[in-house]
């Protein structure tokens, strides 16, 4: 195993491989029942709270269900309505995709930039690392979402600061063209978690690689492209997958900034917000279940594509010279 991939493990990178039958040779069969006792909470949870609900939500997605009357089988109608007759559904898909495509690269680029900056600091690195990480813990809270709403509101600090530079945006929260970017910036602001992971990865890169590159006449930029990025690619991949999965499910900031209704003009109607509205406000549980399944499929497909393409750009040092 390379040091990079052991220090910042990517859980999805086939964890089953790390196991080996350690005591096979003993030949004595261990009793199995204690293992099941240890596993019993998890087994119950996986069955009752994961597998059964998954099956149930798949079933419900083919029904019309309002929580009070018995579910009525309507076949693919939820799906066809969603895909062909519901412009708000597509609006929510578009908003969410825009958000993922803008927020994730920005956040990861900032995280990597700051991680490299912190690596170059000698003393004080630990302090900055913790301080930059703080927003990641607070950012998911309703409190910060409310602060954000006020900062990006008409007359808030952001519009004020921009007008200082002669840019007149007005309030972002009430502007259908800008509201989604307020949510984007809130997410980007929480770059601390991927930054900490990047920093851990950077510290694992052997310094003689840089020395060798410098001897070969590589400048800073060249070193970044030829040493840092390839050595860091497993960590980049790990952060990318997790951030994308998380971003598809953003809810609290959209809820707070839009006042709970995805406004103005549905411009912050994120996928999960629309799902909540369909299921819990409008009592179309079947429709919401169908939305959840399409989200699962979308996340599954995107993750799969990432894993497939990762073979071409993710570099594991231990695979060299096999």
């Amino acid at each position: 195993m390379s040091t990079v991939s052991t220090r910042a493990p990517a859980p999805a990178e086939d964890p089953t491989q790390t196991r080996r039958p350690a005591r096979k040779r003993r030949g004595v069969r261990e009793k199995q029942w204690p293992a099941y006792v240890f596993l019993s909470p998890w087994l119950i949870g996986a069955g009752v709270l994961t597998l059964v609900p998954m099956a149930a939500s798949l079933y419900l997605s083919f029904t019309d269900y309002n929580l009070f009357d018995a579910p009525r089988w309507i076949g693919l109608r939820n799906y066809s309505e969603m895909l062909f007759d519901d412009p708000r559904y597509w609006r929510s898909v578009g908003t969410t995709l825009l958000y993922v495509v803008v927020a994730v690269p920005l956040k990861l680029a900032l995280a990597l930039g700051v991680a490299m900056l912190l690596k170059s600091l000698g003393r004080g690195r630990a302090f900055y690392r913790s301080a930059f990480y703080a927003p990641s813990l607070l950012g998911a809270s309703m409190t910060i979402a409310l602060v954000w709403k006020a900062l990006f509101n008409d007359g808030g600090s952001v519009a004020g600061a921009l007008s200082w530079f002669g840019i007149d945006t007005g309030g972002w929260v009430g502007n259908p063209d800008l509201a989604v970017y307020a949510v984007v910036l809130l997410t980007v602001w929480q770059f601390g978690a991927p930054m900490v992971i990047f920093l851990a990865g950077l510290q694992q890169i052997p310094s003689d690689l840089y020395e060798a590159a410098a001897l070969d006449g590589a400048g800073r930029w060249r070193q970044f492209l030829s040493v840092t990025l390839p050595m860091l690619s497993p960590v980049v991949f790990f952060n990318l997958v997790l951030e994308i999965i998380n971003s598809f499910q953003v809810f609290t900031p959209a809820f707070a900034i839009s006042g709970g209704n995805g406004g103005p003009a549905d411009s912050t109607m994120f996928y999960t917000l629309y799902l909540y509205e369909r299921g819990f406000t409008a009592s179309h549980m079947g429709y919401a279940a169908a939305m959840a399944w399409l989200l699962l499929i979308a996340i599954g497909v995107i993750t799969l594509i990432l894993f497939r393409t990762s073979r071409t750009w993710v570099f594991y040092a231990d695979e060299e010279g096999r």
Binding site: P34, L39, P41, V114, L295
Partner: protein, 276 residues
């Protein structure tokens, strides 16, 4: 060297100031008089309006902030206990014990890391609704006792696999069963992973909004987050001061946790790739 260091240090300092601005703004606004909140871009209040805090303590809809904090603490405490217990049990089995279908079950556990919560949300809601448990704390706490947060199971499995086997083997030679071994050897050695799990569970539960909003209706059962929600749709400026005073109170526990445990938090994140 010292002369070359000033540039990165000053860039880092400027970034930090920008980054912390929203938090400073929150604190400053919570102390502003009502007429300055939206009219003045000045960060500092002309005088400190402590009455925002006394108003905030009265809470929302007749439920005091003390009660709201108590409710939140109860849920977060239950979640911490549940996650630490159930996830460590499952993790020990995955890391150290052998059983049929272990590979398959482990793969399933890891796969649930990527499962969007929304897929199981609606049936879970229906289930709790039929059990008459909606508008109680059970839907928020019970799942944690059933190791549903795969992230922590995975974190602990990774940690336990890194522990030396020798201690456990010698305990076994001395006649310890798997339960004794788990309880007296593995758990104490896994303390860093358990602490990381406890802290993140606490903070995430404290910050949670979606699940609480779906399951809780009675104001006296509200958490602090749900109480803040009542400020979401209103745009009247008069309540801004007390609202942000309450907001400050609501993030205070997380800030305290952060100062006390930041070493664990950052290291937990760095070594496990845990998300915050």
């Amino acid at each position: 060297m010292a002369t070359k260091r000033w540039l990165p240090h000053s860039v880092a300092a400027i970034c930090l100031l920008l980054l912390l601005y929203p938090l400073v703004w929150l604190l400053a606004t919570s102390l502003k008089p009502a007429d300055e909140v939206l009219t003045s871009l000045n960060l500092w209040p002309s005088h400190l309006e402590w009455s925002n805090y006394t108003t905030a303590l009265d809470g929302v809809a007749g439920v005091t902030v003390g009660r709201l904090l108590g409710n939140t603490l109860l849920i977060a405490g239950g979640a911490v206990l549940g996650n630490v217990l159930s996830c460590s049990l499952a993790a020990y089995a995955f890391a150290r014990l052998r059983f049929r279908m272990r590979t398959g079950m482990f793969a399933f556990m890891v796969a649930t890391l990527m499962l969007p919560h929304h897929v199981v949300l609606i049936p879970q809601y229906i289930m709790f609704n039929q059990l008459g448990l909606v508008d109680t704390y059970w839907p928020l706490i019970l799942p944690k006792f059933l190791a549903t947060e795969a992230f922590f199971v995975f974190l602990m499995v990774q940690f336990m696999r890194g522990l030396p086997r020798e201690l456990e083997e010698s305990a076994r030679m001395d006649g310890c069963g798997p339960f004794r071994t788990y309880w007296s050897i593995t758990l104490p050695l896994s303390r860093p992973a358990l602490i990381t799990t406890a802290i993140f569970t606490f903070i995430w539960t404290w910050n949670d909004f979606f699940t609480q909003m779906i399951y809780l209706f009675a104001p006296e059962k509200f958490t602090i987050t749900l109480a803040l929600r009542s400020f979401v749709d209103q745009n009247s400026t008069s309540a801004y001061g007390p609202m942000f005073a309450m907001s400050v109170i609501s993030v205070l526990p997380i800030v305290l946790f952060f100062f006390v445990f930041q070493r664990y938090l950052v290291q937990g994140m760095a070594t496990s790739g845990l998300k915050g």
